[in-house]
């Protein structure tokens, strides 16, 4: 198990790093999907196979494709130098992010997690489903959250269409202001 864990974490972290410092935008997108796959593997290790499937389907399948579409529509030529892709905050941002990460790790290490053991995740799709609709014990709120999330998805779809519409010249239109 440890070996698997180490491999997965290497995949994830190296991919994340790749997203940040890759000079080609498409490479960044592919690195990102690599990171997603690593996280999906983690989900599987954490006894949530349904969630791992969902992760792959939605993130690697949909989000990556959408982002690739976005890259396609906002094409820019490949750059040669790092200075073109990174702004002046590199050093300061690195320091702050380092400290944030270090603080988090420090706090996690300090905390006494008690006697915890793995294996309490929703191992079957049915149990995940029961959690999501709020019939499982202690998860009553999810009934409402589930419905709200669906409304939010509807609003997001409509908003995305409206924002990126081309101007037609008549009727009441909403154009996104910069």
């Amino acid at each position: 198990m440890i070996f698997v864990f180490i491999v997965l974490s290497a995949i994830t972290l190296i991919s994340s790093f790749g997203v940040v410092i890759s000079r080609n935008v498409v490479h960044s997108a592919l690195f990102m999907s690599g990171a997603f796959l690593g996280v999906a593997g983690f989900f599987a290790m954490l006894h949530s196979p349904a969630l791992a499937a969902l992760q792959v389907l939605i993130y690697v399948g949909a989000v990556t494709v959408v982002i690739l579409f976005g890259i396609m529509f906002t094409q820019r030529p490949q750059v040669r130098r790092f200075r073109t892709i990174l702004n002046r905050q590199v050093g300061a941002g690195f320091t702050v992010a380092l400290f944030v990460g270090a603080l988090l790790i420090y706090v996690f290490l300090q905390q006494d997690w008690g006697s915890t053991s793995a294996g309490h995740g929703p191992r079957t799709v049915a149990s995940l489903g029961r959690i999501l609709v709020g019939v499982s014990s202690g998860t009553d709120i999810f009934a409402l959250l589930f419905e709200v999330a669906s409304i939010l998805l509807l609003v997001a779809v409509v908003a995305a269409i409206v924002i990126s519409r081309r101007k037609t010249g008549e009727g009441v239109e909403r154009r996104a202001e910069e």
Partner: protein
């Protein structure tokens, strides 16, 4: 030695830090988006790790993770729509050039 909770949390923290760094320093708006997605995934990982290791939560962490995935997907859609709209008028996705609030 087995994998404990803390290991997952540390990985997630590092992924979050990398994502934060990337969101602060890349000039391309779409890449910033990708780094934001990285951060969201780190949080998801934390949630599911807690859900697996802490029995009292009754697996609620996984439920939250599902909802976060849904919301993140919606956010990507709307955000890219905005980026496209901005690109249409300004012909650039370089964030540094979108600074009309300066001063």
């Amino acid at each position: 030695m087995s994998v404990t909770l803390v290991w997952y949390l540390i990985v997630a923290a590092m992924m979050f830090a990398i994502g934060a760094w990337g969101a602060m320093i890349r000039r391309n708006a779409v890449v910033v988006f990708m780094c934001v997605e990285l951060m969201i995934n780190a949080v998801n990982l934390t949630l599911v790790a807690f859900s697996d290791y802490l029995p009292k939560a009754h697996g609620a962490g996984t439920g939250y993770a599902v909802l976060v995935i849904a919301i993140a997907a919606a956010e990507v859609a709307v955000g890219l729509a905005i980026v496209l709209a901005v690109f249409r008028t300004r012909r650039t996705v370089n964030i540094d050039e979108i600074n009309s609030m300066k001063g």
